[in-house]
Protein backbone atom coordinates (compact mmCIF):
# COMPACT_ATOMS: atom_id res chain seq x y z
CA UNK A 1 0.00 0.00 0.00
CA UNK A 2 2.79 2.34 0.99
CA UNK A 3 4.82 1.47 -2.08
CA UNK A 4 1.78 1.79 -4.32
CA UNK A 5 1.18 5.30 -3.04
CA UNK A 6 4.84 6.12 -3.56
CA UNK A 7 4.68 4.91 -7.14
CA UNK A 8 1.47 6.82 -7.79
CA UNK A 9 3.14 9.91 -6.41
CA UNK A 10 6.10 9.51 -8.75
CA UNK A 11 3.74 8.85 -11.66
CA UNK A 12 1.85 12.02 -10.87
CA UNK A 13 5.06 14.05 -10.61
CA UNK A 14 6.29 12.61 -13.91
CA UNK A 15 3.07 13.48 -15.70
CA UNK A 16 3.40 16.98 -14.32
CA UNK A 17 6.92 17.21 -15.67
CA UNK A 18 5.76 16.07 -19.12
CA UNK A 19 2.99 18.64 -18.92
CA UNK A 20 5.35 21.44 -17.93
CA UNK A 21 7.30 21.22 -21.19
CA UNK A 22 4.51 20.46 -23.66
CA UNK A 23 6.45 21.34 -26.82
CA UNK A 24 9.48 19.20 -26.02
CA UNK A 25 7.33 16.30 -24.77
CA UNK A 26 5.11 16.39 -27.84
CA UNK A 27 8.10 16.52 -30.15
CA UNK A 28 9.72 13.52 -28.49
CA UNK A 29 6.51 11.51 -28.57
CA UNK A 30 6.01 12.31 -32.24
CA UNK A 31 9.55 11.32 -33.16
CA UNK A 32 9.21 8.05 -31.27
CA UNK A 33 5.75 7.52 -32.77
CA UNK A 34 6.96 8.00 -36.32
CA UNK A 35 9.98 5.78 -35.74
CA UNK A 36 7.76 3.01 -34.41
CA UNK A 37 5.01 3.41 -36.99
CA UNK A 38 7.34 2.37 -39.85
CA UNK A 39 8.03 -1.20 -38.70
CA UNK A 40 4.51 -1.53 -37.31
CA UNK A 41 3.04 -0.45 -40.65
CA UNK A 42 5.29 -2.87 -42.52
CA UNK A 43 4.23 -5.63 -40.13
CA UNK A 44 0.54 -4.96 -40.75
CA UNK A 45 1.09 -4.98 -44.51
CA UNK A 46 2.99 -8.27 -44.37
CA UNK A 47 0.38 -9.87 -42.17
CA UNK A 48 -2.42 -8.90 -44.54
CA UNK A 49 -0.60 -10.22 -47.60
CA UNK A 50 0.27 -13.41 -45.77
CA UNK A 51 -3.36 -13.93 -44.82
CA UNK A 52 -4.40 -13.43 -48.43
CA UNK A 53 -1.83 -15.95 -49.61
CA UNK A 54 -2.91 -18.56 -47.10
CA UNK A 55 -6.55 -18.33 -48.12
CA UNK A 56 -5.63 -18.77 -51.77
CA UNK A 57 -3.72 -22.00 -51.42
CA UNK A 58 -2.49 -24.22 -48.66
CA UNK A 59 -1.34 -27.33 -50.50
CA UNK A 60 0.38 -27.13 -53.85
CA UNK A 61 -1.44 -28.72 -56.77
CA UNK A 62 -0.73 -29.58 -60.39
CA UNK A 63 -3.16 -28.57 -63.11
CA UNK A 64 -3.02 -30.65 -66.26
CA UNK A 65 -4.88 -29.17 -69.22
CA UNK A 66 -6.08 -31.56 -71.91
CA UNK A 67 -6.21 -31.27 -75.66
CA UNK A 68 -9.70 -30.53 -76.92
CA UNK A 69 -11.95 -33.30 -78.22
CA UNK A 70 -11.16 -36.17 -75.84
CA UNK A 71 -13.82 -38.84 -75.54
CA UNK A 72 -15.27 -39.87 -72.16
CA UNK A 73 -13.68 -43.30 -72.28
CA UNK A 74 -10.28 -41.76 -72.86
CA UNK A 75 -10.84 -39.40 -69.95
CA UNK A 76 -11.82 -42.10 -67.47
CA UNK A 77 -8.85 -44.23 -68.56
CA UNK A 78 -6.56 -41.30 -67.96
CA UNK A 79 -8.14 -40.60 -64.59
CA UNK A 80 -7.66 -44.23 -63.59
CA UNK A 81 -4.02 -44.09 -64.63
CA UNK A 82 -3.42 -40.97 -62.56
CA UNK A 83 -5.24 -42.34 -59.53
CA UNK A 84 -3.22 -45.53 -59.61
CA UNK A 85 -0.01 -43.54 -59.31
CA UNK A 86 1.38 -43.93 -55.78
CA UNK A 87 2.61 -40.38 -55.67
CA UNK A 88 -0.81 -38.90 -56.24
CA UNK A 89 -3.34 -38.46 -53.45
CA UNK A 90 -6.39 -37.28 -55.29
CA UNK A 91 -7.47 -36.41 -58.80
CA UNK A 92 -10.27 -34.05 -59.58
CA UNK A 93 -11.73 -33.62 -63.04
CA UNK A 94 -13.05 -30.22 -64.03
CA UNK A 95 -14.84 -30.29 -67.38
CA UNK A 96 -14.57 -27.27 -69.66
CA UNK A 97 -18.26 -26.46 -69.13
CA UNK A 98 -17.91 -26.58 -65.36
CA UNK A 99 -14.79 -24.41 -65.56
CA UNK A 100 -16.66 -21.83 -67.63
CA UNK A 101 -19.50 -21.74 -65.16
CA UNK A 102 -17.10 -21.31 -62.28
CA UNK A 103 -15.36 -18.47 -64.04
CA UNK A 104 -18.66 -16.75 -64.73
CA UNK A 105 -19.63 -16.97 -61.08
CA UNK A 106 -16.39 -16.09 -59.49
CA UNK A 107 -15.29 -12.96 -61.26
CA UNK A 108 -16.92 -9.92 -62.68
CA UNK A 109 -16.09 -10.83 -66.27
CA UNK A 110 -19.37 -12.64 -67.04
CA UNK A 111 -20.36 -10.04 -69.60
CA UNK A 112 -17.19 -10.56 -71.51
CA UNK A 113 -17.56 -14.35 -71.42
CA UNK A 114 -21.12 -14.17 -72.66
CA UNK A 115 -19.83 -12.48 -75.78
CA UNK A 116 -17.46 -15.30 -76.67
CA UNK A 117 -18.50 -17.41 -79.68
CA UNK A 118 -17.37 -20.67 -78.03
CA UNK A 119 -15.91 -21.93 -74.75
CA UNK A 120 -12.14 -21.36 -74.88
CA UNK A 121 -11.37 -23.39 -71.75
CA UNK A 122 -9.89 -26.89 -71.83
CA UNK A 123 -10.86 -29.91 -69.72
CA UNK A 124 -8.61 -30.08 -66.70
CA UNK A 125 -7.33 -32.58 -64.19
CA UNK A 126 -6.44 -31.05 -60.86
CA UNK A 127 -3.91 -33.34 -59.25
CA UNK A 128 -3.16 -33.26 -55.52
CA UNK A 129 0.18 -34.92 -54.99
CA UNK A 130 0.90 -37.08 -51.98
CA UNK A 131 4.51 -36.03 -51.95
CA UNK A 132 5.25 -32.66 -50.46
CA UNK A 133 8.93 -32.05 -50.85
CA UNK A 134 9.97 -29.83 -53.69
CA UNK A 135 12.20 -32.35 -55.48
CA UNK A 136 9.63 -35.15 -55.70
CA UNK A 137 7.01 -32.61 -56.75
CA UNK A 138 9.29 -31.36 -59.45
CA UNK A 139 9.92 -34.92 -60.71
CA UNK A 140 6.22 -35.68 -60.86
CA UNK A 141 5.61 -32.42 -62.66
CA UNK A 142 8.32 -33.19 -65.24
CA UNK A 143 6.89 -36.65 -65.86
CA UNK A 144 3.33 -35.41 -66.32
CA UNK A 145 4.60 -32.83 -68.75
CA UNK A 146 5.95 -35.61 -70.98
CA UNK A 147 2.53 -37.27 -71.22
CA UNK A 148 1.14 -36.82 -74.73
CA UNK A 149 -2.47 -36.48 -73.55
CA UNK A 150 -1.75 -33.21 -71.82
CA UNK A 151 -1.54 -29.98 -73.71
CA UNK A 152 -0.06 -28.08 -70.81
CA UNK A 153 0.88 -28.89 -67.22
CA UNK A 154 1.23 -26.26 -64.54
CA UNK A 155 2.69 -26.52 -61.06
CA UNK A 156 0.57 -24.18 -58.98
CA UNK A 157 2.96 -24.03 -56.07
CA UNK A 158 5.49 -21.99 -58.01
CA UNK A 159 3.96 -18.61 -57.39
CA UNK A 160 3.30 -19.46 -53.73
CA UNK A 161 6.95 -20.23 -53.34
CA UNK A 162 7.88 -16.94 -54.93
CA UNK A 163 5.45 -15.12 -52.69
CA UNK A 164 6.80 -16.93 -49.65
CA UNK A 165 10.33 -15.94 -50.55
CA UNK A 166 9.16 -12.38 -51.03
CA UNK A 167 7.36 -12.41 -47.70
CA UNK A 168 10.49 -13.77 -46.02
CA UNK A 169 12.42 -10.89 -47.49
CA UNK A 170 9.79 -8.48 -46.25
CA UNK A 171 9.90 -10.01 -42.79
CA UNK A 172 13.65 -9.69 -42.64
CA UNK A 173 13.48 -6.08 -43.82
CA UNK A 174 10.85 -5.34 -41.18
CA UNK A 175 12.95 -6.98 -38.50
CA UNK A 176 15.97 -4.89 -39.48
CA UNK A 177 13.84 -1.76 -39.54
CA UNK A 178 12.34 -2.59 -36.16
CA UNK A 179 15.74 -3.26 -34.62
CA UNK A 180 17.37 -0.08 -35.86
CA UNK A 181 14.42 2.10 -34.96
CA UNK A 182 14.19 0.48 -31.51
CA UNK A 183 17.81 1.45 -31.01
CA UNK A 184 16.87 4.95 -32.13
CA UNK A 185 14.09 5.02 -29.54
CA UNK A 186 16.50 3.94 -26.82
CA UNK A 187 18.95 6.61 -27.97
CA UNK A 188 16.27 9.33 -27.93
CA UNK A 189 15.23 8.39 -24.40
CA UNK A 190 18.86 8.11 -23.31
CA UNK A 191 19.50 11.65 -24.41
CA UNK A 192 16.29 13.11 -22.99
CA UNK A 193 17.05 11.59 -19.62
CA UNK A 194 20.66 12.73 -19.78
CA UNK A 195 19.51 16.32 -20.23
CA UNK A 196 17.03 15.94 -17.40
CA UNK A 197 19.67 14.58 -15.08
CA UNK A 198 21.94 17.51 -15.92
CA UNK A 199 19.23 20.10 -15.29
CA UNK A 200 18.19 18.43 -12.06
CA UNK A 201 21.71 17.97 -10.81
CA UNK A 202 21.16 20.09 -7.68
CA UNK A 203 18.05 18.19 -6.76
CA UNK A 204 19.80 14.85 -7.16
CA UNK A 205 22.73 16.02 -5.08
CA UNK A 206 20.49 17.30 -2.28
CA UNK A 207 18.33 14.19 -2.21
CA UNK A 208 21.48 12.06 -2.01
CA UNK A 209 22.69 14.19 0.90
CA UNK A 210 19.52 13.71 2.86
CA UNK A 211 19.62 9.98 2.43
CA UNK A 212 17.77 9.05 -0.75
CA UNK A 213 18.55 5.58 -2.02
CA UNK A 214 19.64 5.04 -5.61
CA UNK A 215 16.31 3.47 -6.50
CA UNK A 216 14.44 6.49 -5.11
CA UNK A 217 16.51 8.82 -7.29
CA UNK A 218 16.28 6.55 -10.32
CA UNK A 219 12.53 6.05 -10.13
CA UNK A 220 11.22 9.34 -11.61
CA UNK A 221 13.61 9.05 -14.56
CA UNK A 222 12.58 5.47 -15.28
CA UNK A 223 8.94 6.50 -15.10
CA UNK A 224 9.63 9.33 -17.48
CA UNK A 225 11.28 6.99 -19.99
CA UNK A 226 8.47 4.47 -19.63
CA UNK A 227 5.76 7.09 -20.13
CA UNK A 228 7.55 8.71 -23.04
CA UNK A 229 7.98 5.34 -24.75
CA UNK A 230 4.39 4.39 -24.05
CA UNK A 231 2.94 7.61 -25.42
CA UNK A 232 5.23 7.23 -28.43
CA UNK A 233 3.68 3.78 -28.91
CA UNK A 234 0.21 5.30 -28.74
CA UNK A 235 1.20 7.90 -31.34
CA UNK A 236 2.51 5.08 -33.57
CA UNK A 237 -0.76 3.19 -33.10
CA UNK A 238 -2.77 6.26 -34.08
CA UNK A 239 -0.56 6.90 -37.12
CA UNK A 240 -0.82 3.31 -38.35
CA UNK A 241 -4.56 3.07 -37.69
CA UNK A 242 -5.27 6.34 -39.46
CA UNK A 243 -3.11 5.30 -42.43
CA UNK A 244 -4.85 1.92 -42.66
CA UNK A 245 -8.23 3.58 -42.57
CA UNK A 246 -7.25 5.92 -45.38
CA UNK A 247 -5.60 3.16 -47.41
CA UNK A 248 -8.47 0.72 -47.02
CA UNK A 249 -10.83 3.36 -48.36
CA UNK A 250 -9.04 3.58 -51.67
CA UNK A 251 -8.00 -0.07 -51.62
CA UNK A 252 -11.68 -1.06 -51.64
CA UNK A 253 -12.13 0.66 -55.01
CA UNK A 254 -9.08 -1.06 -56.42
CA UNK A 255 -9.77 -4.59 -55.18
CA UNK A 256 -13.37 -4.44 -56.37
CA UNK A 257 -12.02 -4.25 -59.88
CA UNK A 258 -10.10 -7.48 -59.28
CA UNK A 259 -13.09 -9.11 -57.60
CA UNK A 260 -11.06 -9.58 -54.44
CA UNK A 261 -11.91 -8.64 -50.91
CA UNK A 262 -8.29 -7.99 -49.99
CA UNK A 263 -7.89 -5.36 -47.32
CA UNK A 264 -5.30 -4.28 -44.78
CA UNK A 265 -6.27 -5.64 -41.40
CA UNK A 266 -6.17 -3.17 -38.52
CA UNK A 267 -3.93 -3.91 -35.53
CA UNK A 268 -5.48 -6.60 -33.39
CA UNK A 269 -5.85 -6.12 -29.64
CA UNK A 270 -2.90 -8.43 -28.78
CA UNK A 271 -0.76 -6.70 -31.40
CA UNK A 272 -1.70 -3.28 -30.04
CA UNK A 273 -0.96 -4.32 -26.47
CA UNK A 274 2.35 -5.80 -27.58
CA UNK A 275 3.19 -2.51 -29.29
CA UNK A 276 2.45 -0.50 -26.14
CA UNK A 277 4.35 -2.90 -23.91
CA UNK A 278 7.33 -2.93 -26.24
CA UNK A 279 7.51 0.84 -26.70
CA UNK A 280 7.12 1.39 -22.95
CA UNK A 281 9.83 -1.16 -22.26
CA UNK A 282 12.24 0.42 -24.74
CA UNK A 283 11.67 3.84 -23.16
CA UNK A 284 12.29 2.37 -19.74
CA UNK A 285 15.44 0.66 -21.01
CA UNK A 286 16.79 3.88 -22.55
CA UNK A 287 16.15 5.70 -19.29
CA UNK A 288 17.79 2.91 -17.32
CA UNK A 289 20.94 3.04 -19.46
CA UNK A 290 21.05 6.80 -19.13
CA UNK A 291 20.52 6.83 -15.39
CA UNK A 292 23.09 4.13 -14.71
CA UNK A 293 25.52 5.97 -16.96
CA UNK A 294 25.07 9.43 -15.47
CA UNK A 295 23.75 9.16 -11.94
CA UNK A 296 26.87 7.85 -10.29
CA UNK A 297 28.78 10.85 -11.63
CA UNK A 298 26.69 13.09 -9.42
CA UNK A 299 28.07 12.62 -5.94
CA UNK A 300 27.73 15.34 -3.35
CA UNK A 301 30.97 17.01 -2.35
Amino acid sequence: MKTLREHLHVLHATLQRLWLTPAASLLNMTIIGIALSLPVGAYVLLKSVQQLASTVADAPQISAFLDAGKRDSELSALKGKLESDARIAKVEFVSRDAALQQLQQSTGVSDMIGDLPHNPLPDTFIIYPKVTDTKAMEALYQELQSWKQFDHVQLDSAWIKKLDALLDLGRLATAILATTLSLALIAITFNTIRLQILTRRDEIEVTKLIGASDSFIRRPFLYFGLLQGLTGGVVAWLLVSASLWLLNGSLANLTQLYASDFQLHPLTLPDSLALFAFSGYLGWLGAWFSVSQHLWQIEPR
Binding site: K2, E203, E205, V206, L209, I210, G211, S213, D214, F216
Partner: protein, 221 residues
Protein backbone atom coordinates in the same frame (compact mmCIF):
# COMPACT_ATOMS: atom_id res chain seq x y z
CA UNK B 1 27.78 8.53 18.95
CA UNK B 2 30.63 9.96 16.89
CA UNK B 3 34.08 8.50 17.40
CA UNK B 4 37.21 9.38 15.40
CA UNK B 5 40.29 7.19 15.87
CA UNK B 6 43.60 8.38 14.37
CA UNK B 7 41.87 9.69 11.30
CA UNK B 8 43.91 10.88 8.34
CA UNK B 9 42.39 12.38 5.24
CA UNK B 10 44.64 12.99 2.28
CA UNK B 11 43.23 14.39 -0.94
CA UNK B 12 44.61 13.48 -4.36
CA UNK B 13 47.51 15.82 -4.93
CA UNK B 14 48.91 15.28 -1.46
CA UNK B 15 46.97 17.84 0.57
CA UNK B 16 46.59 16.56 4.13
CA UNK B 17 43.19 17.82 5.27
CA UNK B 18 43.18 15.92 8.56
CA UNK B 19 46.08 14.40 10.49
CA UNK B 20 45.79 11.95 13.34
CA UNK B 21 42.40 13.25 14.55
CA UNK B 22 40.89 11.37 17.50
CA UNK B 23 37.89 12.39 19.56
CA UNK B 24 34.65 11.14 20.97
CA UNK B 25 31.24 12.79 21.04
CA UNK B 26 28.67 11.24 23.37
CA UNK B 27 25.01 10.87 22.57
CA UNK B 28 23.12 14.10 23.24
CA UNK B 29 26.25 16.25 23.39
CA UNK B 30 26.52 19.65 21.73
CA UNK B 31 30.00 20.32 20.37
CA UNK B 32 31.52 23.17 18.38
CA UNK B 33 34.09 22.65 15.69
CA UNK B 34 36.34 25.70 15.36
CA UNK B 35 39.34 26.75 13.36
CA UNK B 36 40.33 29.08 10.55
CA UNK B 37 39.01 28.43 7.08
CA UNK B 38 40.89 25.56 5.47
CA UNK B 39 41.66 23.97 8.85
CA UNK B 40 39.68 20.87 7.92
CA UNK B 41 36.30 21.61 9.52
CA UNK B 42 34.29 20.86 6.38
CA UNK B 43 36.30 17.72 5.69
CA UNK B 44 35.58 16.45 9.19
CA UNK B 45 31.85 17.02 8.75
CA UNK B 46 31.93 15.28 5.36
CA UNK B 47 33.49 12.24 6.98
CA UNK B 48 30.68 12.10 9.53
CA UNK B 49 28.04 12.24 6.77
CA UNK B 50 29.93 9.67 4.64
CA UNK B 51 30.36 12.19 1.84
CA UNK B 52 34.06 11.43 2.05
CA UNK B 53 35.90 8.43 3.41
CA UNK B 54 39.00 8.64 5.62
CA UNK B 55 42.35 7.72 4.09
CA UNK B 56 43.17 5.85 7.28
CA UNK B 57 41.84 5.52 10.79
CA UNK B 58 38.30 4.83 11.84
CA UNK B 59 35.20 7.01 11.84
CA UNK B 60 32.45 5.38 13.84
CA UNK B 61 28.95 6.84 13.57
CA UNK B 62 26.50 5.07 15.83
CA UNK B 63 28.82 2.07 15.69
CA UNK B 64 29.12 2.03 11.90
CA UNK B 65 32.58 2.49 10.39
CA UNK B 66 32.50 5.02 7.54
CA UNK B 67 35.77 3.72 6.19
CA UNK B 68 34.28 0.33 5.36
CA UNK B 69 30.62 1.24 4.88
CA UNK B 70 28.94 -0.22 1.81
CA UNK B 71 27.59 2.22 -0.76
CA UNK B 72 24.08 0.82 -0.31
CA UNK B 73 24.19 1.43 3.44
CA UNK B 74 24.97 5.15 3.12
CA UNK B 75 21.37 6.37 2.52
CA UNK B 76 20.13 4.75 5.72
CA UNK B 77 23.03 6.31 7.64
CA UNK B 78 22.31 9.76 6.24
CA UNK B 79 18.63 9.54 7.09
CA UNK B 80 19.72 9.54 10.70
CA UNK B 81 21.81 12.68 10.23
CA UNK B 82 20.35 16.13 9.68
CA UNK B 83 22.63 18.25 7.51
CA UNK B 84 22.64 22.04 7.65
CA UNK B 85 24.68 23.71 4.96
CA UNK B 86 26.20 27.16 4.81
CA UNK B 87 24.79 27.56 1.30
CA UNK B 88 21.46 26.02 2.39
CA UNK B 89 21.13 23.76 -0.69
CA UNK B 90 17.41 24.47 -0.97
CA UNK B 91 15.49 23.55 -4.11
CA UNK B 92 14.02 26.54 -5.90
CA UNK B 93 11.59 24.55 -8.05
CA UNK B 94 9.24 24.00 -5.08
CA UNK B 95 7.89 25.95 -2.15
CA UNK B 96 9.12 25.96 1.43
CA UNK B 97 6.67 23.25 2.49
CA UNK B 98 7.81 20.84 -0.24
CA UNK B 99 11.47 21.50 0.54
CA UNK B 100 10.91 20.38 4.11
CA UNK B 101 8.75 17.47 2.93
CA UNK B 102 11.58 15.98 0.83
CA UNK B 103 13.28 13.92 3.60
CA UNK B 104 9.91 12.42 4.55
CA UNK B 105 9.18 11.52 0.93
CA UNK B 106 12.50 9.74 0.81
CA UNK B 107 11.66 7.63 3.84
CA UNK B 108 8.14 7.09 2.38
CA UNK B 109 6.20 8.62 5.21
CA UNK B 110 2.43 8.51 5.42
CA UNK B 111 1.14 11.59 3.64
CA UNK B 112 -1.02 13.11 6.37
CA UNK B 113 1.47 12.38 9.13
CA UNK B 114 4.19 13.94 6.94
CA UNK B 115 2.21 17.16 6.50
CA UNK B 116 1.83 17.43 10.28
CA UNK B 117 5.53 16.92 10.80
CA UNK B 118 6.46 19.47 8.15
CA UNK B 119 4.24 22.10 9.77
CA UNK B 120 5.72 21.26 13.18
CA UNK B 121 9.23 21.71 11.81
CA UNK B 122 8.33 24.97 10.09
CA UNK B 123 6.71 26.18 13.31
CA UNK B 124 9.85 25.31 15.25
CA UNK B 125 11.97 27.61 13.05
CA UNK B 126 9.26 30.30 12.86
CA UNK B 127 8.39 29.88 9.19
CA UNK B 128 4.90 28.44 9.47
CA UNK B 129 3.36 31.44 7.76
CA UNK B 130 5.79 31.15 4.84
CA UNK B 131 5.10 27.54 3.84
CA UNK B 132 3.80 28.52 0.40
CA UNK B 133 6.74 30.83 -0.34
CA UNK B 134 9.47 29.88 -2.78
CA UNK B 135 12.82 29.75 -0.95
CA UNK B 136 14.20 32.32 -3.38
CA UNK B 137 11.77 34.87 -1.90
CA UNK B 138 13.12 34.29 1.62
CA UNK B 139 15.86 36.30 3.33
CA UNK B 140 19.26 34.74 4.11
CA UNK B 141 18.26 34.08 7.71
CA UNK B 142 14.94 32.57 6.66
CA UNK B 143 16.66 30.33 4.12
CA UNK B 144 19.01 29.10 6.82
CA UNK B 145 16.05 28.36 9.09
CA UNK B 146 14.28 26.55 6.28
CA UNK B 147 17.38 24.43 5.84
CA UNK B 148 17.27 23.64 9.55
CA UNK B 149 13.60 22.68 9.31
CA UNK B 150 14.46 20.25 6.51
CA UNK B 151 17.31 18.78 8.59
CA UNK B 152 15.15 18.15 11.66
CA UNK B 153 11.85 17.09 10.06
CA UNK B 154 12.75 13.42 10.07
CA UNK B 155 13.93 13.73 13.72
CA UNK B 156 17.49 12.49 13.24
CA UNK B 157 19.75 11.56 16.15
CA UNK B 158 22.60 13.70 14.86
CA UNK B 159 22.60 17.25 13.51
CA UNK B 160 25.61 18.53 11.58
CA UNK B 161 25.80 22.24 10.82
CA UNK B 162 28.48 23.73 8.59
CA UNK B 163 28.92 27.42 9.42
CA UNK B 164 25.22 27.89 10.09
CA UNK B 165 25.69 31.48 11.18
CA UNK B 166 28.36 32.28 8.62
CA UNK B 167 26.57 34.95 6.63
CA UNK B 168 24.20 36.19 9.30
CA UNK B 169 24.29 39.17 11.60
CA UNK B 170 24.32 38.78 15.38
CA UNK B 171 20.55 38.90 15.85
CA UNK B 172 19.87 36.19 13.27
CA UNK B 173 22.67 33.96 14.49
CA UNK B 174 21.37 34.16 18.06
CA UNK B 175 17.98 33.04 16.80
CA UNK B 176 19.53 30.06 15.10
CA UNK B 177 21.67 29.11 18.06
CA UNK B 178 18.61 29.23 20.27
CA UNK B 179 16.97 26.74 17.94
CA UNK B 180 20.02 24.46 18.18
CA UNK B 181 19.97 24.73 21.95
CA UNK B 182 16.39 23.55 22.04
CA UNK B 183 17.38 20.46 20.02
CA UNK B 184 20.23 19.84 22.45
CA UNK B 185 17.71 19.90 25.26
CA UNK B 186 15.66 17.11 23.68
CA UNK B 187 18.72 14.87 23.33
CA UNK B 188 19.93 15.44 19.76
CA UNK B 189 23.68 15.15 19.21
CA UNK B 190 24.94 18.37 17.61
CA UNK B 191 28.19 19.16 15.84
CA UNK B 192 28.37 22.78 14.74
CA UNK B 193 31.31 24.18 12.83
CA UNK B 194 31.98 27.89 13.17
CA UNK B 195 34.80 30.38 12.89
CA UNK B 196 32.80 32.95 14.88
CA UNK B 197 34.28 33.20 18.39
CA UNK B 198 31.41 35.36 19.63
CA UNK B 199 29.06 32.39 19.20
CA UNK B 200 31.12 30.38 21.71
CA UNK B 201 31.02 33.22 24.19
CA UNK B 202 27.26 33.60 23.97
CA UNK B 203 26.45 29.88 23.97
CA UNK B 204 29.36 28.12 25.64
CA UNK B 205 29.95 24.41 25.00
CA UNK B 206 32.82 22.05 24.38
CA UNK B 207 34.80 23.00 21.28
CA UNK B 208 37.07 20.96 19.03
CA UNK B 209 39.73 23.25 17.64
CA UNK B 210 41.44 22.35 14.38
CA UNK B 211 44.62 23.95 13.08
CA UNK B 212 45.92 22.87 9.67
CA UNK B 213 44.18 19.54 9.99
CA UNK B 214 45.50 18.80 13.47
CA UNK B 215 43.20 18.68 16.48
CA UNK B 216 44.62 21.15 19.04
CA UNK B 217 42.12 21.00 21.85
CA UNK B 218 38.78 19.62 22.94
CA UNK B 219 39.59 15.96 22.22
CA UNK B 220 38.40 15.02 25.67
CA UNK B 221 35.21 16.24 27.21
Amino acid sequence: MIRFGQVYKRYPGGHEALQDVSFDIAKGEMVYLTGHSGAGKSTLLKLVAAIERPTSGSVLINGQNIRAIKREAIPALRRNIGLIFQDHKLLFDRNAFDNVLLPLQISSFDHREAAKRVRAALDKVGLLTREKANPIALSGGEQQRLCIARAIVSRPDILLADEPTGNLDAEYSSEILNIFKSFHQVGVTLLISTHDQSVLQRFPARALHLDHGVLQQGANA
